[in-house]
Each structure stands twice: as C-alpha cells, then as structure tokens.
C-alpha cells in the first residue's frame, strides 16, 4: 500500500473504531481516545472508576471492534497466580495414558480486563504484571508466548480500600496510562439508560483486526519527532525529580518522588500515535502536554505540601507543564 494510503487508512480506521465504540459506550470520549492510543502504542492501561461507569463494557466492546479475543479476570484476594496464567494439569489421553497438559489461563487473550487488580495478593499481581511486561508465560521449563497485539486494561476500585493491596510504584510504571473514568453527566446518564433499555449487549461491530493494529503500530512508530520536543519531554520527566540538581521548583515544592524513564518513553510513543490520529505527521509540544497527565499521574507521588495546598496530582502535572520552558 502506498504511504499516503497507509496514513489515510490509519485515520479512517481510528475514526471507525471510535464510531463503533460510541455505540456501546456513552461519553468518555477522552478515555476512548487514550485507550485507542494505548492499544496502538502497545501499552497497557490502568483504569480507575467507580462501579458501573462502563469499564468492562468498554473492553468487551473493544474486543468486538478489534476482532480480538477478550477475557475478563476478576481479581479477588484468593486468586492464585496459576488462576491467571494457567497451569499444568494431568490428563488421561484416549489410550488411558496419563499426560501433563498445560491448561491456558484467562491471560491468554488479546484483550484482557484485569478487574479490581488491587484486590489480588502481591504474588498474583506480580504474576499478572510480569506477563504484561514480557507478553509470555513461563511454567516450569516451558514458555508460552502470547498473541499480539496484547493489551491489558486493569481497573482499580477507588471506593473499597479495605482488604486491597495497592500496586507498588515499580509495577504501576508498567501501565502506559492511568485513566480516570468519571461518573457520567446527566445527559450521558439518560443516554446510557435509554441504550441499555434496548439491549445490554454490546452492538459494536468489528472494523479492524489484530494484524491491522500491528500495522498501525508500525506506522505510528515512524512519525518524526524533532530534538526540541524530545528535549522538552526529557526535561518534563526529569523535572519531576526534586532531588536532581536544577529540578523544577514545582517538583521541589510538591513532589515526593518522580517518574521513571519509562514515562519519557511512553510520552513519545503515545504522542506519535496521537499526532497521527489527529491528522498530523509530526509530534508537537501539544501532543506531549495532552498526554502528560495520564502518563505521569500514577508515576509521581505528591507530598503533603501539595495536599495542604489542595492540589491534586493532575494540578501538579499542569504546573510542571506551565513551568517547563519550550
């Protein structure tokens, strides 16, 4: 396919994905955009939201639209790592011989919804996160590769904090975005009710497949970034570290610890996708700034001074953007 056609096809496919998803998910435009960016960029998303805002529906609908197998893992405190990855079982074959067979766990899907991941034990969490990182499962001496594209959307319930195991910062870093799904507005709520009165099932149809997603990923990776934007991104991320010489004054005042280099990688990779989605063929400062909050909010820890000044982590990120010179 000619390059121009590829680029045009990229935009058309993204538009189709969005259009289909809106059939099942009312509102949440920004969440949908960021989820699409994350999938194309090859990252995973941590989604925070109260029950009933459409987290599961979003991922299920996404599975339909992308023609990708979908699985849902409901994390509970008694969930074992093998419940996620799968395990070897002993089976009798037709000859009556006993054989060891690997039974794949729910992780073996292209789209996985890891619901309430913070309810699982750290051991189960780490098993899940290892798979997210490496896209493979190792059981004993055997390694089982997961099909690409592989995307995990993990959720955290912000209400039930008792009996939960908050994800450690090192593992939070594996999510390219943390998105906050807000309670829908009045009009959106009305639309949700109307829609679900007709049917509760997802009606979105398949518009792309996994192969096409991989092609889109490869195309997005070629979007050029000028050194000035790269430099700005690096300064934005390193500016979150108060201990570094020449750190941003906002970081010195409001941040306890800053983001890892993965944040800079995530910003550039996702910015390229965003640029292409918006019909631009280069990464701009605006792309970086638009993605800074979802990329950084789970990677930096604000201190008491910020809490005292009634600043949220998103407010601190906004201040960082304001004070970082282009």
């Amino acid at each position: 396919m000619e390059n121009n056609q590829k680029v045009q096809a990229f935009s058309e496919k993204v538009a189709k994905i969005k259009s289909e998803l809106r059939r099942d998910v009312v509102g949440q435009t920004e969440i949908i955009d960021h989820v699409i960016i994350a999938i194309i960029a090859g990252g995973n998303v941590l989604l925070e939201g109260v029950p009933g805002v459409g987290k599961t529906r979003l991922v299920r609908s996404l599975g339909n639209v992308l023609s990708l197998p979908f699985s849902r893992i409901q994390f509970t405190p008694d969930l074992m790592p093998s419940d996620v990855t799968g395990t070897n079982i002993i089976e009798k074959d037709e000859n009556g011989k006993l054989n060891t067979v690997f039974r794949k766990g729910p992780i073996f899907a292209n789209l996985v919804l890891a619901d309430e991941i913070n309810r699982a034990t750290p051991k189960t969490q780490s098993a899940m996160l290892e798979v997210m990182q490496e896209h493979k499962v190792t059981i004993g001496n055997d390694t089982y590769k997961l099909d690409e594209p592989f995307f995990v959307l993990a959720t955290e319930n912000p209400i039930e904090q008792d009996g939960t195991y908050p994800l450690p910062e090192a593992q939070m870093d594996r999510f390219v975005f943390k998105l906050i799904m807000k309670f829908p507005g009045n009009d959106e709520l009305i639309d949700i009710v109307k829609m679900t009165q007709i049917t509760m099932d997802e009606t979105a149809k398949a518009v792309v497949n996994g192969e096409e997603i991989l092609q889109m990923r490869a195309l997005a990776a070629t979007v050029p970034v000028i050194d000035e934007v790269l430099d700005y991104t690096a300064r934005l991320v390193s500016g979150t570290h108060p201990e570094i010489e020449g750190a941003n004054d906002v970081a010195k005042k409001y941040i306890k610890y800053g983001a890892s280099p993965r944040a800079a990688q995530a910003l550039i990779t996702c910015a390229k996708v965003r640029a292409l989605m918006n019909g631009n063929y280069n990464v701009s400062y605006e792309d970086i700034n638009a993605l800074a909050a979802p990329v950084l909010r789970h990677r930096i820890k604000i201190n008491y001074a910020a809490v005292n000044d009634k600043l949220t982590v998103d407010d601190v990120v906004a201040l960082l953007i304001k004070t970082t010179k282009k």
Binding site: N3, N4, K6, V7, L219, T222, V223, P224, V225, I226, D227, E228, V229, N280, Y281, N282, V283, S284, Y285, E286, D287
Partner: protein, 483 residues
C-alpha cells in the same frame, strides 16, 4: 529546500535586516545626539566628528550584535512560522528531517509544504508593530533637542538692554577674516608678549566656539565672554591702577601731587603739574620735603604689592632713591647746582615713568581696540555689554579716587578717623614753634617727617631707634581705619 519555505524565509530575513538597520541607525542617532547634548551642557562646543563617529560606531556595533544574536536562521524562521501560524512544529520538523528519505517524513514534508503555500504576508505581520517606532522617534526627538539646545557658556552674561533674541546665526567667512585680521593686529601691536599671547589665544578659542553657534543670542554670549577675558588680560599686566591708588592713599600731599602729575597710561606725565611739583621744593624745608617725598613714595609703591620687576614700579622706586640721594648731597651744592640737579632727577624719573606708562597705555589700547572691533564685527551695542566691560580699570581707579578726593576735600582739616579711606594725621592741633601758634597736625607732618629723616642721618641713633621712629611716622601716615 522547500520552495515555499525559502520564499517565506527570504521575506522574514529581509524584514529582520531592515529592523536591525533601523534599530542600529536609531541607536547611532541617539548616541550622537546624546554626545552633543552632554558636551553642550558641559559648556563645550560639540565636536561633530566625535558625535558622528560615536554614532556610527554604536550603530555598526548594534547592527552586528543584532545580526549575530537574532539573525533569522532556518531554525528560527521555522520556529517563528510554527508559533505565529500555530502549525504545531510542522515547519521545524520539516527542516530537521529534510534529508530523511523515510515515507512518513516525506508525507510530513509534503503536508507542510502545502500549508506553507497558503500562508499570506498578512499572517506573518508582527503584533504591536508600533513598538518598533519607539526607538526611532526617541532618536529624532533627542537629535532635535541636540540641535536646539545652546552651548552653556560661562563668564559674561549680557547686561543692559540685551533682548535675548533667538535669531538664527551662522559664522561666515567674513567674520573669520575679520577676527583673523584682529589677531594679526594684536601680534604686531606694542602690547607686552605675555599679554599678546593671552589675547590671541582667547580670540582663537572664541572663533572655534563660534563654529557651533547657531543663534544670535548664543553668539553674543560667546563674544562677550571672550571680551571680558581680553579686558582682564590688561588688568592683570597693567600696574598703573594699584600704584597710583597707593600713592593717592598716602598722607603725603607731595605724593598725591606726584600721582596727579604722573598722568595716566593714555596721557603720561602732565607736564604742568609735574613742573609745579618740582618747583614746590624750595626754601628752608627743601631737604625735608625731598626726603619726605622719597620716603613716602617708597613706602607707597611697596604697599601696592605689584611685581618688583614691573617697569612702572621700578621707575617709581628709582625716583624715590634718586630723590633720597639728591637730598644727601644738597647741602654741598650751590643754588644753581641744586636747581640743575633737581631738574635732572625729575627729568630722568619722568622719562622712565613715561616709558612704563606708555607701555601700559599700549596694552590697554590694544585690548580696547580688540574689544571695540569685536563689538563692531559682531554687532554688539554698548548698552548690551556687562558692567565690567563698560569701564576700564584705569578709568575706574581714576573715577573712584577722584570721588574719594572730592570727599576728602570736603572734610575740614581731613584726618583723624574721618570719612573715607584716607586718614592723614589728626584733627588735633599741635604747637608749631616757628609760628608760635597751634596748627593742624596734618599741615605740618610732612615737615616733621623730613626733619626726622635729616636728623636720623646726622645723628647717631641705633638702628633700633631709627626703626621705631620710622614706624611711628608710617603709622601716622597710614592709620588703620579700623582703629
């Protein structure tokens, strides 16, 4: 490189160069005007070469620095286009990846090129363009101020009826020729050399200053300032005034007569008065009178505090010595011989004094001529002159002393603590043995002083006693008016 980008780059660079040039020129004009104003305020005629040179230097440096610091490189042009047209770093990306052959960069390039093709000149216009006019306007305002501001002058201020007109004036060749002729006149005059060089220097400086004068007011101020300096040259070298004043202030009537008979630098040695003075030395008091005159003359000229090498001072001192020497030998001479010797002493003195006074007259005449010519050349009326130029010191001394003399003449018997500066003797009466009556002290003090001189020569007195007696009589003659 992209055709559209090149076009826009050229346009922006041209605009920038014009702005830099305007900035540099405005800064240069500001500097030149500032230099001129500072010099004028410091009472110095602005040196055009310095002002223009400084202005050009600053302009060049400013333009070069602006070019080095802010020249629109490709990157800067690209950034300006992106920022001003909200292109989200499209142009900068195009420039950065221009050599790249990948598919995406090619698409990016084409897309950017297409967008640049739609950019109009209006879109590139800077906001707040009026700010660019601030510096040039300031420069022009300062330049006008520099032209209009007169050079601050020190010294003479116009007096009398000077009307402070601000008419445009310009130094012409005619003025220069006239002043140069005046300088030549001074150089060939009879004025003493020191005086000549001072006057010539003052005239040269005045000419130099007048080159930068642009108004009539300023011209007259400059010329009158020079006239005051020229007048002061003669005041500094002529000693007639202090010497004759000291002679007139003395108690001795003969000394006063001598001061009158001496005349002025313009009219030295009034023969009738001089001869009358010579003829007054006769009779029994002859010797005493001569000695008295000699002593009082010596004291008076010393009291004037002029240079000991001054010709008039020397002439008067030598006259005093001649008189004293003559008085010593007078007893050995017959009547005819005495008259001859007296005549010789007086004639020698007259000759010396005449030469000295004539020189001082030449000095005064030269500076008076110069000042009169300056008034004529530059159209300055007498009533415009400051008071210090309206009367010469020589005349002034004469006038003041005449007034004082009149006042003294009014005083009955004069003396004592009296009125005016001259105090000679006392109003008290003294018994005068010759007439066997009381007479006013002031009438006989000269006689007594002469007797003192004779007695001191004939009798053996210690130096100490002689000094005491001298001082006594000196105090009588020059009584401190504050007593």
């Amino acid at each position: 490189m992209s055709k559209n980008f090149e076009k826009l780059k050229t346009k922006l660079r041209l605009g920038a160069i014009i702005r830099f040039l305007a900035f540099g020129i405005a800064l240069g004009v500001l500097t030149a005007a500032g230099f001129a104003i500072v010099q004028k305020l410091a009472a110095i005629s602005p040196d055009p070469l310095l002002c223009i040179g400084a202005g050009i230097g600053v302009a060049l440096v400013a333009i070069v620095v602006a070019l080095l610091v802010a020249f629109p490189t490709e990157k800067r042009v690209a950034k300006r286009l992106d920022d001003q047209l909200s292109l989200r770093e499209k142009v900068q990306t195009m420039i950065a990846f221009y050599g790249d052959q990948s598919a995406m960069t090619e698409i990016q390039r084409e897309d950017t090129e297409r967008i640049l093709g739609t950019v109009t000149g209006k879109q590139l216009r800077r906001k707040r363009v009026w700010l660019n006019a601030v510096l040039p306007v300031l420069a022009v305002a300062l330049l006008l101020t520099a032209f209009v501001l007169p050079v601050r002058t020190e010294g003479a201020t116009p007096g009398g009826d000077f009307d402070g007109e601000n008419e445009i004036w310009e130094l012409t060749e005619w003025h220069i020729t006239a002043v140069r002729a005046l300088i030549d006149m001074v150089k060939s005059s009879d004025m003493v050399e020191d005086g000549k060089s001072s006057v010539v220097e003052t005239l040269e400086k005045m000419l130099a200053d007048l080159e930068y004068v642009t108004t009539k007011t300023h011209m007259k101020q400059t010329v009158m300032s020079a006239m005051v300096k020229i007048d002061a040259v003669t005041d500094g070298i002529n000693t007639y005034t202090p010497l004759v004043r000291a002679m007139r202030n003395a108690a001795s009537l003969k000394l006063k007569e001598l001061a009158e008979a001496m005349g002025t630098p313009v009219d030295p040695i009034i023969e009738s008065k001089y001869q009358a003075l010579k003829a007054s030395f006769e009779g029994e008091t002859f010797k005493e009178d001569i000695n008295s005159l000699a002593a009082s003359l010596s004291v008076a000229v010393d009291a004037a505090k002029v240079a000991k090498t001054d010709a008039l001072y020397v002439a008067l001192q030598q006259f005093s010595e001649s008189l004293a020497a003559f008085a010593k030998t007078v007893d050995e001479l017959g009547e005819e011989e005495r008259a001859t010797a007296l005549t010789h002493v007086f004639e020698s003195a007259a000759e010396q004094m005449s030469v000295a006074l004539s020189q001082q007259g030449s000095n005064r005449a030269t500076t008076d001529t110069v000042n009169n010519e300056l008034m004529s050349i530059f159209g300055i009326a007498w009533n415009e002159l400051p008071d210090e130029l309206k009367y010469s010191d020589d005349e002034e001394a004469s006038t003041e002393d005449n007034v004082q003399q009149e006042q003294e003449d009014e005083v009955i018997g004069g003396g004592g603590k009296g009125s005016g500066e001259v105090i000679y003797g006392s109003d008290d009466a003294i018994y005068y043995p010759k007439d066997e009556t009381h007479v006013k002290y002031g009438d006989v003090i000269d006689e007594y002083n002469g007797q003192k001189v004779t007695d001191m020569e004939e009798r053996s007195l210690s130096d100490e006693i002689k000094a005491f007696i001298d001082k006594y009589f000196a105090d009588l003659y020059y009584k401190d008016k504050n007593d």
